[in-house]
């Protein structure tokens, strides 16, 4: 006659008794496994009532509760630190360790803006040119001469077209030297080009140069056709109508390069799944965490017991049948589990980086508010002699 082996009143844990064995080598876990088993059995009514669970059920629940705790804490840490973790190596285990704030990720994100603005970033700007012919305004960009020949078959995005008015500085005629551009060229040859215009800086204030340059630019703007272009599809139309042959240079990127810049570097944190958080070591979990685990273990045990007792809606007994409390146990377990998870998440959220900063701010504000109410001391050491002096004069 087979009798179901119900909880015998004691248990003896040995490594390998849990389904996964994540914590089996932890001596504190081994010690607590049997204690938790006894505690849960007592909470379920043993020895007054039989508990239709075996020690392996208790162990499995204990392991699951510890896993759940570790999982919740790690999820919180990953959520709180993901911005700092992305792009960092996956090799090191960050469980239980502080993550120092840095701007790495922010800068990495900013570099994408830099790419578009032409001030850095991940995508290299390349150069191309087009031969401009006298009198021809419209050019097909398919005929570009590329810096990298293979780019001719790729989709490109033009970032800059070098087609502007020549700088006023090179059209500056120094009246005091009287040689026009010749003096500029001469100075360039001596390596003094940066001191342009000419040698007159010794005699003229800087604002005189600025006024002249401004006058040249105004002249170009008002009296001449402006240098500009229109880019429509593959067509480039340049203004004014070219009066001589020259080259127009332009900067471009390939869309392929831009896409390539978004791919992650190997062995670095990319998302939730490879953030380097391992399971917590049970013995390092503090008493508050262990208490949570005990309670969650009990809830899981109730759930298992409820499922066992609820497999059949009624149990036959001689000349009758009884209904067990399986449904009640399952309901209790679900409620308790939800409450425990909520409590843990609230506690974790309360210590998030953002929450801590807000708390510190509030604390410092409150301290300042308190200090403001402290009476300011009045220094009367010097006041008394002055009063005495004034009194003496009055007399």
């Amino acid at each position: 006659m087979e009798i179901i082996p119900i909880y015998p009143g004691s248990s003896s844990f040995y490594p390998g008794s849990t389904p996964f064995g994540f914590f089996d080598d932890d001596y504190t876990f081994q010690d607590h496994a049997d204690k938790v088993t006894g505690w849960c059995a007592n909470r379920l009514g043993y020895p007054i009532n039989d508990v239709e669970l075996l020690p392996i059920h208790f162990y499995a629940c204990f392991e699951e509760a510890t896993l759940e705790y570790s999982n919740q804490v790690n999820q919180f840490s990953i959520r709180d630190n993901m911005m700092l973790l992305q792009g960092t190596p996956t090799g090191s285990n960050l469980t239980g360790k502080p993550v120092n704030p840095s701007l790495n990720r922010l800068i990495a994100i900013s570099k994408n803006y830099g790419t578009e603005a032409g001030s850095g970033g991940y995508v290299t700007y390349k150069s191309a040119s087009i031969d401009v012919k006298t009198g021809q305004q419209v050019y097909n960009l398919e005929n570009l001469s590329y810096e990298v020949a293979s780019d001719s078959t790729k989709t490109i995005e033009i970032k800059k077209i070098y087609h502007t008015t020549p700088p006023a500085i090179i059209r500056y005629f120094d009246p005091f030297v009287g040689t026009g551009l010749g003096s500029q060229q001469l100075l360039e040859n001596f390596g003094w080009g940066n001191y342009s215009p000419g040698v007159s800086f010794l005699m003229m204030p800087v604002y005189a140069d600025l006024l002249r340059l401004q006058a040249i630019e105004f002249n170009d703007l008002i009296r001449k056709s402006g240098y500009s272009f229109e880019l429509t599809g593959n067509k480039l139309k340049i203004l004014p109508i070219p009066t001589y042959d020259y080259k127009i240079y332009l900067d471009y990127i390939t869309t392929e390069d831009r896409s390539a810049s978004t791919t992650n570097v190997a062995s670095t944190v990319g998302d939730f799944s490879n953030a380097p958080y391992e399971l917590h070591r049970y013995s390092y979990i503090n008493p508050a965490g262990k208490q949570w685990i005990f309670k969650y273990t009990l809830s899981l045990c109730k759930e298992v017991l409820g499922n066992i007792r609820n497999k059949y809606s009624s149990i036959p007994i001689p000349n009758s049948e009884v209904t067990l409390n399986g449904a009640d146990l399952i309901s209790q377990a679900q409620t308790e589990k939800e409450a425990l998870i909520s409590q843990l998440r609230e506690n974790l959220d309360a210590v998030s980086r953002q929450a801590q900063l807000a708390k510190l701010t509030e604390e410092s504000d409150n301290i300042q508010s308190q200090l403001n109410k402290v009476p300011m001391p009045i220094y009367i050491g010097a006041l008394v002699p002055l009063l005495m002096l004034a009194t003496a004069f009055l007399i």
Binding site: I3, I4, K311, P316, I317, P318, S320, V322
Partner: protein, 176 residues
Amino acid sequence: MALYGSKRDVALFRSLNKELLHRIIDTEVLAYKLNLSSTQVNIYDESDTKVYNEPILIYSLITLDEQQWTSEDYGSDVTQTSTFAFLRDDLIEKDFRPEIGDVIEYRSRFFEIDSLIENQTVVGKDPDSSFTGPNFGYNVSIICQAHMTRQSKLNIVKTRFGNSVSINNSTLPNNL
């Protein structure tokens, strides 16, 4: 092969039944087996002096019906019927198979078994006779319908007896 009612499930039922009957309800009766070989019968296979084996203490779920009182010419009389439901596993352990004519003692009253019902199974299967084999089903109980009988008829307890003054260290016969 059935999905429900396997040996493992039955083991749970058995465990729950034993907990309920032995530890929670905990009502026991004495069951007396009629010893046919020792009972003297007349030519009609009738006997006024039935002999019973030593009683066996066994757990039972008892349903006592109301006592019925009647007044006859020779005085008042009481009758009572009762149902004794036994866990079949208990009976097997005690090696007691109730039969019609056996006597059950409960609260100093004696009930003679009139009929037996052995029809309570789990998932409709009795492992002893199921065509699907012995691994499924559970024969839960044996239910005995019984009526209260007179103690003087049973020869189990001494009634109306006394000591003889003339005969030293001897008692008068039972059931005079």
